[in-house]
Each structure stands twice: as C-alpha cells, then as structure tokens.
C-alpha cells in the first residue's frame, strides 16, 4: 500500500515534469530550428513567422491527440460498429437497429429515459429556482445554500447507498429501520418494498438525482436572479405587483436563458445516468435505462459491440440538438468579441 502511494506521488511528479518538459523542450527546438539572426532582418522575420505558425500546434498538440483518440475517433468507430455483428467482424447492415426496435428491454429503457427526462430536469429547475428565491431573502441563506448544494460532491454510488437505506424494507414484524417505511407506518400505511414497485420505483430512483442536482440549479439560478437590475423589481413593487406576480412576470422571464442552460445541462446528465440504476436495481423491476442497457450489452455473453453501439448512438442522437445549439451559441459569442 505504501509503495502504491509512493508510486502514485511519483507519477504525479513525473507526469507534471514530462508535460512541462515537452512544452519547454518543444519551444527550445522550435527556436533552434528557426533561428532569428540579429544581422539578417529578412531571415529573422521569415523565421519569426514560421515560429508563430508552428507554435500553436505545439501548444495544442497533446490536447488534440487526447481529444481525437478518446472522443472523435470513438464516435466514428461506434457509428461504424453499429452496422457490424457482436464481435465487430462481420457487416450486418441494419440488423442491430431492427433488433433494437423490437426488443422489449430496449423499449422499456426508452420509456424510462423519457420518464427521467420529463421529471428530473423539471423538478431540479423548479426546486432550484424556489430555493434560490427563498434563500436570497434571509440572512442565513448562504449556509442553507451550501447545505443543499452539498450532495453535488457525493458520488452517485454513495448517494445510492444513502437512499437505499431510506427505502430499506424489512419483512414480517421486524422494526422498519428505513425512514420512508417508518414514516408510512407512523401515518398508518403499510410498509412497501419501494425499489421493486413497478413503474413507481423509477420515481424513487429519480429522487436521488433530484436530491443531487437541485443544488446545481439553485447556485446558477441564484446568480442569475442577482443579476436582475434592482430598478426593475422596484418599479414593479411601486406599480403594486404582488410577490407572486413579480416572481412569474418579472424574475422568471428575465432569467429565461439561464433556466434553459440549467435545464439542458441536467438533461444531458439524465441521459447518461448509469451509476444510480446500477447500484439501486441493476435494471431489474422495469427500471432499465439506456446507459445501463448499453453497458449490459457491452459485456453480456462475452459482449455484443453492435447492439451496444446502437444503444450508445441513441443517447448520442438525443444530445445532438443540444450540441449543435451550444456550438452555434459559442460561435455567436466569438463573433461578438
């Protein structure tokens, strides 16, 4: 164990050193290859130009290599693999897509993903907005905010253990030690095995993600709310608007853009949700979602890269509109600079 710590520390130091060495050395080599003679102004300016042409690529090089190898190439490869059989060796045309369309588990996953998409972003944004408005009005708001924000630091697996304990069910006459069942029992209901209740169990899993992500929505929306000019709200107050009207007719329209950003960010997260379903139910009791189904097929029976790729592509297709919108937005911003 000690040796592992030592080697990890060694890697950090070596890694940083190698990175720094690369940038330093490549710069030195560049200067040696294209020297700038003091006595020859023409040659100097030519070489300075050459240096300026090459240098960006030296700086960008490692990042570009990582991006291409780990993200760009795999996207293309996954697309191609979706037309091949389980081993990736034989072309099978659209067979994997046809399989997906009539596979019951795939349909279940699509249905569940749509359910998640309908509930989680909306719930997070709504709770985030309400909490942001409320906490902005009290002196201990920042303490409250950081408590609500804290679950963001917790891993999905950790959060799943935390919530599994809340949903814990004990059979027979044993004392219910799960908080939810204890509450249900206290108000006269009968305890349930929450995570295996078909359909409704999806919502018990969603609660975990909502618990984690509401803090994110709250922080961003709270910053946006503070950006609303005070005169606007003062004017509304003078005109006799009620708190409710100010919230819906002044505040919400002003931060519409930010709400969209929060909504889309959580949407992307929801599409990729994997850990929660894996640890809570592993897709049993009709809780399967696309990311888990994809992982399942990656290893099921030795792995089926074709079917797995099709499922990955469905997730990709769902985020593509957001991706295009983001790129457009970024281009617009750069044009404005």
């Amino acid at each position: 164990m000690i040796s592992q710590i030592v080697s990890a520390v060694g890697v950090v130091i070596a890694g940083v050193f190698v990175c720094a060495l690369y940038y330093w050395l490549s710069d030195k080599i560049l200067q040696a290859v294209f020297p700038v003679p003091v006595d020859n102004v023409r040659a100097a300016s030519v070489n300075l130009n050459r240096r300026a042409m090459v240098r960006p690529w030296l700086f960008l090089g490692p990042a570009l290599i990582l991006l291409v190898v780990y993200l760009v190439y795999p996207v293309v490869a996954t697309f191609i693999l979706s037309f091949y059989d389980r081993s990736g060796g034989n072309f099978v045309g659209l067979a994997n897509y046809r399989w997906a369309l009539q596979d019951a588990q795939f349909r279940q996953s699509i249905f569940n993903n749509i359910l998640w998409l309908a509930v989680v972003p909306a719930a997070c944004t709504f709770f985030g907005l309400v909490i942001a408005v409320l906490t902005d009005r009290i002196w201990w708001g920042n303490i409250a905010k950081s408590l609500i924000f804290m679950p963001m630091a917790i891993s999905f697996v950790g959060a799943s253990v935390i919530w599994k304990f809340i949903y814990e069910y004990r059979g027979g006459t044993e004392t219910q030690i799960g908080l939810l069942n204890a509450i249900v029992q206290a108000i006269g209901g009968s305890p349930q095995v929450w995570i295996s209740l078909p359909f409704w169990n999806n919502f018990f899993l969603m609660a975990i993600l909502i618990w984690i992500q509401t803090g994110f929505a709250m922080v961003i929306l709270s910053a946006a709310l503070r950006g609303i000019p005070e005169e606007t709200i003062e004017a509304a107050v003078i005109d006799g608007a009620s708190g409710w009207q100010i919230f819906w007719k002044i505040m919400v329209p002003q931060i519409w853009g930010t709400i969209a950003v929060v909504w889309t960010t959580i949407t992307i997260l929801v599409l990729k949700v994997f850990d929660i379903v894996l640890t809570m139910t592993n897709g049993q009791w009709n809780t399967m979602v696309l990311a888990n189904l994809m992982f399942d097929w990656m290893f099921r029976g030795g792995g089926d890269s074709g079917r797995s790729a099709v499922i990955a592509l469905v997730i990709m297709a769902a985020v593509t509109p957001i991706m295009i919108w983001n790129i457009r937005q970024a281009n617009k911003e750069m044009g404005g600079h």
Binding site: Q4, A8, G15, C19, A20, Y23, R55, P56, F59, L60, P62, A63, L64, Y70, Y73, P74, V75, A77, T78, L81, L134, R137, I138, G141, A144, S146, F149, A153, I154, S155, G158, A159, V161, I162, W163, K164, F165, R170, T175, I177, L179, A182, T214, V219, I220, T258, A260, V261, V262, T264, T265, D275, L278, F295, M298, V319, I322, N326, Q329, M334
Partner: protein, 385 residues
C-alpha cells in the same frame, strides 16, 4: 420581547420563508445524516431500531436464562431463585419481559407476573429478579426474554472493520491513485491549449473551438466500446495488462479535456490584452508568457476546474469499471461500495461506514473550496451555455 412582538417585527411572510427554508434544509440533510449516525451504531442496534432513535436509546430484545433449580432457596412454602438477568456485564434498563419469544413485552418490569404453573416472576428495571414457585423447581434454568432499553451507545468499530477487513482502506488509496494524477495531468495540457486558442492566431482556430464545445456534451457511452477494444489490442500487442492506472489516467484526462479547455479559454481570453502585449514587446516568448504571466493569473480558473475534475474522477464508477481491473490493488472506492451493496445486502453497519468513507473526501474538498466550485459552475454554464 414577547413571541408575538418578535413575530410582528419579523413579519409573518418572512417567518414563512425562514421556516420553509429550514424545512428544505432538514429534508436535504437527513439522508446523509442517516448514514452518518448509523455508521457509528452497533450492528444489533441498527436492526433493532431506526437511526433517528439512536440518541434516545433503543429498545433491544435479548434473551436471558434464570438461575438453575439447584440455586433455589426455600422460603416458607415457596421456592425462590433470585439473581440478575444481566450476565457478563451487559447493562441497561429492563422495560418489559416475557417468557415466550413471540411476546417479549408481555409483562411490565417491576411488577410480579403470574406465568402459570404456580410460578411468579418479577424482573426489576435493574435486571434483578425474583422467581418463585409453590413447589420445587425442576429441569434447567428458565429462559426469559427481556425488552431492554439500552442507553445510546456509539462505536467506531464499523470503521475499523471496513478499513481493514473489507478492503475499503486499500480502495481509498486506489481512488487517490486514480484521482490525483487524473486531475493534475489534464490541467496542464488544457491550459496550454487554452492559451493557444485565446492568444495565438492560426488557421483553423474557430473550427477547433467549435470542436471542443461540441465534444463537451458527447456522452461517455460513445467512447467506451472502441476504447475497450483499443485497450485490449494494445494490451495483447505489447503483452501488458490492458487495465492499468496509466490507461485510466489518460482516459480521465481526455474525457475532462473539452470542459477544461472551454473553461480555461473563457478565462484566459478575458485576461487584459495590455499585459500580454507588453510582455511580447519586452521580448518574452509565448512559453515564458504562459509560465510567468498566464498560469499565475489563471489560478482561480485552474482551481475551479481541478475541483470539478477531482470530484468527477473520485466519484466516477463507469470509467473505472471499464478501464480498471476489479482486483484488490485496482478496485476504487465507488467500485468497492458497489460490490459491497451486492454482497453485504442488509449489513448496514458495513455499508454506511463504507459509504461515509467514500464521501468524506469530496465533502471536505467541497466545503473547503466551495467558492471556486461555484465560480467554475457559473463560468461553465451562464457565460457560454
């Protein structure tokens, strides 16, 4: 000031705001509090009562055997056995007792109970008992069941167990081995790239920026299959294990790269032009400008990103499941916790202690560096989208 007066001073709507925020905070905090409290309780207590009763003490049912018939003393017409139902130092307060396991709370402590056969049993709160019969006792010592209120007791035993015998200690080191290099390596690479994309003119710059922005949202799932194949081929070709720390460092670095470049570029391109221009006029090379000016000035952005990346790599399960082995020397905390959930189903003393160990580092990082985290979030989503 009376309550009514202070209410008037605060105002009812304001009070409602205070109360509702308080309620929300409690709801948000309770789940975590639950496992924190439970992780310090003894296994027997965890299953005997909800964690919310941990501070008031739990009612535990235990079995005890009364003295052997040979210890009976004759008092007039009756034979009496007396002693303490608590043996071996176990203590507590007896609330009730019974003679059948199905009804351990049949009789109230301290009151004589007629248990048939002409036998009378009294068990007092302190555990002392008087057991009398109008005839000699026969057979073995009688078995009784006690409902004992134990005072709240907490233990660190669960933590000792999971850290040593459940391999959580080793996994903790593994997680650090993954997370620390996977946080530091991408920062440096991304910072150089971000500088090039902000302050250097070259053809294709806009295209690369668009690519980076687009790649931010590409789901990890798209990368897994080809990379898994690639890693296996590289492993076979060079005869090295395909699942290694080096492999996951590079994977995490690459997956964090788009957001890193994007965040750092937003920040670095916003630095004042005069500083960089005047350094260039003074003859500094881009490398020198980067190291001496850009890096120190970008500290807030670097800090923001490193927090993100650290939390993401520490909390990640999927990448570790695909690119790291499940052996003792490579299983990270999230993976270990997931495995325990499968094998230790109802053993909450193990699960809660393990869960708390996995979340304690990110929570410390979170509270210590929250300012930078918030700043990074705002830079990442409000500005660009």
């Amino acid at each position: 000031m009376s309550a009514a007066a202070s209410l008037r001073r605060i105002g009812l709507p304001r009070l409602i705001v205070h109360v509702s925020v308080l309620v929300i905070c409690i709801i948000w905090l309770i789940p975590t509090l639950g496992i924190l409290v439970t992780s310090f309780r003894e296994a027997g207590q965890i299953t005997a009562s909800g964690w919310w009763t941990a501070f008031t003490g739990a009612a535990e049912t235990s079995a005890a055997r009364l003295g052997e018939p040979s210890t009976a003393k004759q008092e007039g017409a009756n034979y009496v056995i007396s002693g303490s139902a608590f043996e071996g130092g176990k203590g507590g307060t007896v609330r009730a007792f019974g003679t059948r396991v199905a009804a351990p709370t049949e009789f109230t402590a301290g009151q004589p109970a007629d248990i048939g056969n002409g036998e009378t049993l009294t068990i007092n709160e302190d555990g002392s008992y008087t057991y009398s019969k109008n005839a000699p006792f026969e057979g073995r010592g009688k078995r009784v069941y006690l409902s004992v209120a134990t005072p709240p007791s907490f233990t660190t035993e669960n933590y000792r167990t999971v850290l040593t015998s459940q391999g959580i200690g080793q996994s903790f080191v593994n997680s650090l081995t993954v997370a620390v290099p996977a946080t530091i390596i991408p920062i440096l690479i991304a910072a150089f790239a971000a500088y090039a994309l902000s302050w250097m003119e070259f053809p294709g710059r806009a295209l690369i920026i668009a690519l980076v922005v687009g790649l931010i949202v590409v789901p990890l799932q798209m990368s897994l299959i080809p990379l898994l194949k690639m890693y296996n081929e590289i492993g076979n070709f060079f005869g090295v294990p395909s699942r290694s720390y080096a492999g996951i460092w590079l994977a995490h670095s690459a997956f964090g790269m788009p957001l890193a470049i994007y965040l750092l570029r937003n920040y670095i391109s916003g630095l004042p032009r005069e500083i960089i221009e005047s350094a260039r006029v003074d003859g500094a090379s881009d490398f020198e400008i980067f190291v001496k000016i850009i890096l120190p000035l970008s500290f807030p952005a670097l800090a923001s990103f490193s927090i993100f990346q650290f939390l993401w790599t520490w909390n990640d399960l999927l990448v570790a499941m695909v690119f790291l082995g499940t052996g003792k020397d490579q299983l990270v905390l999230t993976g270990a916790l997931n495995a325990l959930l499968g094998s230790m189903g109802g053993k909450w003393e193990i699960l809660t202690a393990s869960a708390f160990i996995t979340i304690v580092v990110p929570i410390i990082v979170f509270f210590a560096l929250q300012r930078y985290l918030v700043r990074g979030l705002l830079a990442g989503s409000v500005k660009g989208g």
